[in-house]
């Protein structure tokens, strides 16, 4: 596995981290600051847990695809 | 009954000298100038002894020697190899192919005659 794709992986993870930070902070968060229920669940909680789950899935996707163990970083 | 000698060599002058020497000893002499001729002469009648040159056109001396040794009915024919290549390897090779003795050119005529007589088991007169 070459340097380039190892670098690419790092860049994807960094982008994911930044995107997650933005999605989980002000001002995006203020859009869901409502005391309402969606599907029986408070909309703020629903949003946060969904974003959270999506981030975890994406980490899994990036980490578990492509490179073999023992690769360089 | 005179002994039968076959001389095989492609150098005419050498053949001439050998022919003289052998006839003088009272042997019957036949001549071949290459390997094929030599085998033809063998088929005709197996001689008691062959003086066989190594470097000849059409089947060299080793091949002829090997062919003769492969035939049961020719096992009594003595073979003396003559070679101008004086290296040990050649000697070894000749003996390995089934030659009985080996003479390096140029040879001393007296020695050659003695060797032939010994080979034919004729006591020195």
């Amino acid at each position: 596995m070459n340097h380039q794709s190892a670098d690419r992986k790092k860049q994807r993870l960094l982008a994911l981290c930044i995107a997650g930070f933005i999605a989980l902070n002000y001002p995006l968060l203020s859009l869901f600051d409502q005391a309402e229920l969606t599907l029986g669940i408070p909309v703020l909680f629903l949003y946060l847990f969904l974003v959270w789950a999506v981030i975890i899935s994406l980490i899994a996707l990036v980490m578990e695809t492509g490179q073999e163990p023992g690769e360089e970083r | 009954m005179p002994r039968d000698i076959l001389i095989v060599d492609d150098a005419p002058n050498i053949v001439l000298s050998l022919e003289f020497l052998m006839k003088k000893e009272g042997f019957t002499v036949r001549v071949a100038v290459d390997g094929d001729e030599a085998l033809k002469a063998m088929e005709e009648r197996a001689p008691d002894l062959i003086l066989l040159d190594v470097m000849m056109p059409k089947r060299n001396g080793y091949e002829v020697c090997q062919t003769i040794r492969a035939r049961e009915e020719w096992k009594n024919t003595r073979i003396i190899m003559l070679t101008a290549k004086g290296r040990d390897v050649e000697r070894e090779k000749g003996l390995a192919m089934g030659a009985d003795d080996y003479v390096t050119k140029p040879f001393a005529t007296r020695d050659l005659v003695v060797k032939v007589r010994e080979m034919l088991d004729i006591a020195e007169s």
Partner: protein, 925 residues
């Protein structure tokens, strides 16, 4: 229920700890057998979940009950950080393995020039900063124990529990200290990873997750009719409805932001997280799975926080029960004593795992970076085995830490919630982030910069959070908070320099990070690094680059004997272990070392690393320094070595570039070698052939001479005949010898040449005359097309004539006797002269065209009967003569088409080479 709960609960607690110890013991046993239980990403993930302490277990619910979603950033932050574990944590782990780093203090100290001062400082910050966190666990365990026993005994009749607080906490502290000692320092070897401990905390992570889920499921589906009903009822309560949004979150979005950031740092840089993530890591590739499994664990354990919090608020309105204990009180309320007990065990798991790991991590730091350096200062030359002493020190430190935690608890315990105490520790750990993160990516970060940043950050933290919490507990006057120390208002802890827009945590984080990072960068930019700093900076930043590891070996240029080195290491790790390690290293590197010989620098570096594993890098460096005679390299020396290294790298790159050319050259060499072998074979053949060719006439001569000698009575005629043969063979021999000599001269370049103006027409005519008798003898016709006018060129007359004679005599020899027909002609061209001799003989086969010019190569006719009486050297000599005149010689023929031998000579010799190559091109002269 009539069980004596005040006895049952403590007994079960101790039994549970016993079970943990069994797990650890089993894991250690397996590790000794080489069948590690923990060497997989799942156990690694579970061990990282030591992050979830009793703060998570009890405190999250408590916080959610008061401020809704506000507990969540503490778990979102680690998720975001886990996304970039692969590049960051991976690098930290690799560095730590390369340098045998055993703690976060060791890591920072090692990065900044193996400085003892910085190691001690980090240790102090860690101890002071983490103390509240340990206190938090003591408080949680003590409270949960008391609450559980109280409510199990008395139900909810008598309101708040009134248990003997202090005693419980003290016992808890002592028992946890005992277990930490058992887990962390069971081995005599002080340097190994703690497999048993990791297995135990992974086990605890499962227990606490299951316990929390069990309570959550019971509360949501047992006490209520699913989350739908629970949330509906909460919405219906106007007081609780506000918990659904951000309204109740103190500090609002800025607090949310800073907590996320804080948690991101804490997951990496809390000493216990560093311990499990880095020090206890078995395989870097475990990060791959842990990076998403660990966030998943966090998500799952947080699913029921809000339902439990809301349920607690609905069931115990008006704070009739401490929200921090909802996890226990709700099952008891639902009459599920055993579930409550299980929940309690989950909380105990969360607390004990944190305490055990933190205690071990901190004790390693305190021992290696504070006590041993001080100890060595006074006992530098002590020769006895210190490994036992080191372990004793560590045990003492663990006990002391937990007792300190207890004292802290006595001081401030009751006035704070679990979460607030925890966040204070988080803020302290965050101070380590700048020197580490900048340190592994920026070579320029210097020791003085790191010290300045850490010190300032720590002081701000202490002022704005620690001292402030003392003030809140009433341990120091409250005016400290409201008016500032000594009445200096701009030093008020919650409004430093008058900044009062943030909540206390955000406020502290803002200032401490700003100053910490600012000083680290600024001081570094104006600093000059020492040699050791520079090398360590390079080692850390370039850890993934090949060759980076070699740097360590350059550090020591002095001399020390192998036996001294071994003795030193043995003092700290024990003699058996030291012997084993040295033997291993020596075998691995194929070193041959006499005991009293000088240790090579690689061995010194190895010993230093080995020591670093036991007592920390800073102390290790001092110890090595104490026995190595001679100086460390100065900066110039180091730079020189680095320069050489880079030169070597550059050189090897150039070599790589050349490798293609080298391969080509190798191919050429192989070809040349094949040709040489062929030539060698030809030489042997040549000697063999020449021997044969010379011996054949010699044989005739000798034979006939002897015949003439031995037969005096030969007839005269025969005698004449034999003598004639002798003479003829002698002539042949002479000719042969001459030819061989000629050829030898030609080949060796010793031949003397006599180039003159030559009339080629005349030379050719003369050659025809010389060979006319041969033609007559064989009745071969010669057709002469040689022009009568002179054709002048520069050449060696005799040699050229020899070539022509050779052509003619060959033609005669191979032409049929009687019907033979040979043609000879000269061709005049502007730049060259050609000569052709054509016969009507059998011709020469295509494959022979080149070979007939080889030495001793004799052409025989088809029947082979007529051996032409040549030596086989004639044409070879011709070719060399023509070559010398820069001409060309060849034959054109086919079977039964006769053969035409041709040579061409250039007319003008000076530009001979050009002309010879391009026969048809006109002369420019």
């Amino acid at each position: 229920m009539t069980l004596p709960w005040e006895w049952v609960v403590p007994l079960i607690s101790v039994a549970y700890l016993g079970l943990l110890f069994a797990v650890a013991y089993f894991a250690d046993m397996r590790a000794d057998q080489g069948r590690s239980l923990i060497s997989n990403p799942y156990v690694y993930t579970l061990s990282i979940a030591v992050y979830c302490t009793s703060w998570t277990f009890y405190g999250s619910v408590g916080r959610a009950a008061v401020s809704g979603i506000g507990f969540l950033p503490i778990y979102l932050g680690p998720t975001l950080m886990a996304a970039i574990w692969w590049p960051i944590l991976g690098k930290i782990i690799r560095i730590s393995k390369d340098n045998r780093i055993t703690s976060i203090a060791d890591f920072i100290a090692s990065r900044y020039g193996k400085s003892r001062g910085i190691a001690a400082m980090v240790t102090l910050i860690a101890v002071v900063g983490i103390m509240p966190y340990i206190t938090l666990q003591l408080k949680a365990v003590a409270t949960s124990l008391d609450v559980l026993v109280h409510h199990l005994e008395y139900g909810f009749s008598s309101g708040h529990p009134a248990a003997p607080w202090g005693d419980t906490a003290l016992y808890v502290a002592l028992i946890l200290a005992l277990f930490s000692v058992l887990f962390g320092t069971r081995h005599l070897d002080a340097t190994e990873r703690h497999e048993g401990m990791v297995a135990a905390i992974a086990f605890e992570s499962i227990i606490k997750l299951l316990a929390f889920l069990a309570v959550g499921l019971f509360v949501t589906f047992g006490l209520f009719d699913g989350p739908g009903e629970l949330f509906q009822k909460t919405m219906a309560d106007p007081k609780l409805k506000s918990l659904m949004g951000f309204g109740t979150l103190s500090g609002g979005y800025s607090s949310w932001f800073s907590l996320t950031f804080l948690a991101m740092m804490a997951i990496l840089f809390l000493p216990r997280q560093f311990q499990v993530l880095v020090v206890e890591n078995v395989n870097e590739n475990h990060i791959r799975k842990a990076a998403w499994l660990f966030p998943l664990y966090l998500l799952i354990i947080n699913l029921f926080v809000l339902p439990i919090a809301f349920a607690g608020n609905l069931i115990f309105p008006g704070a009739s029960a401490d929200p921090d204990t909802f996890v226990l009180t709700l099952p008891i309320f639902g009459d599920q004593q055993w579930l409550a007990l299980f929940a309690y065990l989950g909380g105990l798991s969360a607390a004990t795992s944190m305490v055990i790991v933190a205690a071990i991590a901190l004790s390693t730091m305190v021992c290696n970076d504070l006590i041993i350096p001080a100890f060595l200062r006074f006992h530098l030359q002590v020769q006895e085995d210190l490994s036992g002493i080191i372990l004793t020190i560590r045990r003492g430190v663990i006990l002391a830490l937990l007792l300190l935690g207890y004292i802290y608890f006595r001081l401030i315990g009751e006035s704070h919630t679990l979460v607030t105490i925890g966040l204070v520790s988080f803020a302290a750990a965050a101070q380590f982030a700048p020197p580490i993160l900048l340190g592994i990516f920026w070579k320029g970060a210097s020791r003085r910069g790191a010290i300045a940043g850490l010190l300032a950050g720590f002081l701000i933290w202490a002022h704005t959070l620690l001292l402030a919490s003392f003030a809140i507990s009433g341990w120091i006057p409250e005016s400290f908070l409201t008016e500032g120390p000594w009445g200096i208002t701009w030093l008020r802890p919650y409004a430093l320099f008058g900044l009062s827009v943030f909540d206390p945590i955000t406020h502290s984080i803002f200032w401490s990070m700003l100053i910490n990072i600012g000083l680290l960068i600024t001081v570094s930019l104006f600093d000059r690094q020492t040699a050791v700093e520079r090398i360590q900076a390079l080692n850390f930043v370039n850890v993934f680059e090949q060759g980076a590891r070699g740097g360590e070996a350059y550090l020591w240029s002095g001399s020390v004997s192998v036996v001294d080195l071994k003795r030193l290491v043995a003092r700290f790790v024990g003699p058996t272990r030291a012997m084993r390690d040295f033997d291993h290293f020596i075998t691995q590197h194929r070193l041959i070392l006499p005991e009293n010989g000088i240790a090579p620098s690689s061995l010194v570096a190895f010993a230093e690393q080995r020591l670093a594993g036991a007592i920390g890098s800073a102390s290790a460096r001092i110890m090595i320094h104490s026995i190595v005679k001679g100086e460390e390299l100065d900066l110039e020396g180091v730079m020189r070595i680095l320069d050489q290294t880079s030169q070597v790298i550059e050189y090897s790159q150039r070599l790589e570039q050349k490798s293609a050319e080298l391969e080509a050259a190798t191919r050429q060499l192989k070809q040349a070698n094949t040709r040489l072998q062929e030539l060698d074979r030809l030489k042997d053949e040549f000697i063999s052939t020449i021997s044969h060719e010379l011996r054949t006439p010699l044989t005739s001569i000798r034979a006939f001479s002897e015949i003439l000698r031995d037969n005096e009575d030969l007839p005269t005629e025969e005698r004449q005949n034999f003598l004639g043969i002798v003479i003829k063979e002698t002539e042949r021999l002479t000719r042969l010898v001459n030819q061989v000599l000629d050829l030898a001269k030609l080949e060796s370049g010793l031949m003397e040449w006599h180039p003159t103006e030559v009339d080629l027409a005349e030379v050719t005519q003369e050659a025809i005359d010389v060979t006319s008798r041969l033609f007559e003898n064989r009745s071969v016709t010669l057709e002469n097309f040689v022009p009568s006018h002179p054709i002048i060129l520069t050449a060696d007359r005799d040699r050229i004539q020899r070539v022509i004679i050779n052509f003619l005599s060959n033609a005669v020899k191979f032409s049929p006797e009687g019907s033979g027909r040979v043609e000879i002609r000269l061709r005049e061209e502007p730049a060259f002269i050609g000569l052709e001799v054509k016969d009507n003989g059998p011709g020469i086969q295509e494959g022979e065209h080149k070979r007939i010019f080889d030495k001793f190569h004799q052409v025989r006719d088809e029947s082979g009967e007529n051996k032409p009486g040549g030596s086989g050297l004639g044409l070879a000599i011709c070719q060399r003569i023509v070559d010398h005149h820069n001409g060309r010689i060849w034959v054109e023929s086919g079977p039964n088409l006769g053969a035409t031998f041709i040579f061409v000579l250039p007319l003008f010799q000076p530009e001979k080479k050009e002309i010879a190559k391009k026969e048809a091109s006109p002369s420019n002269r």
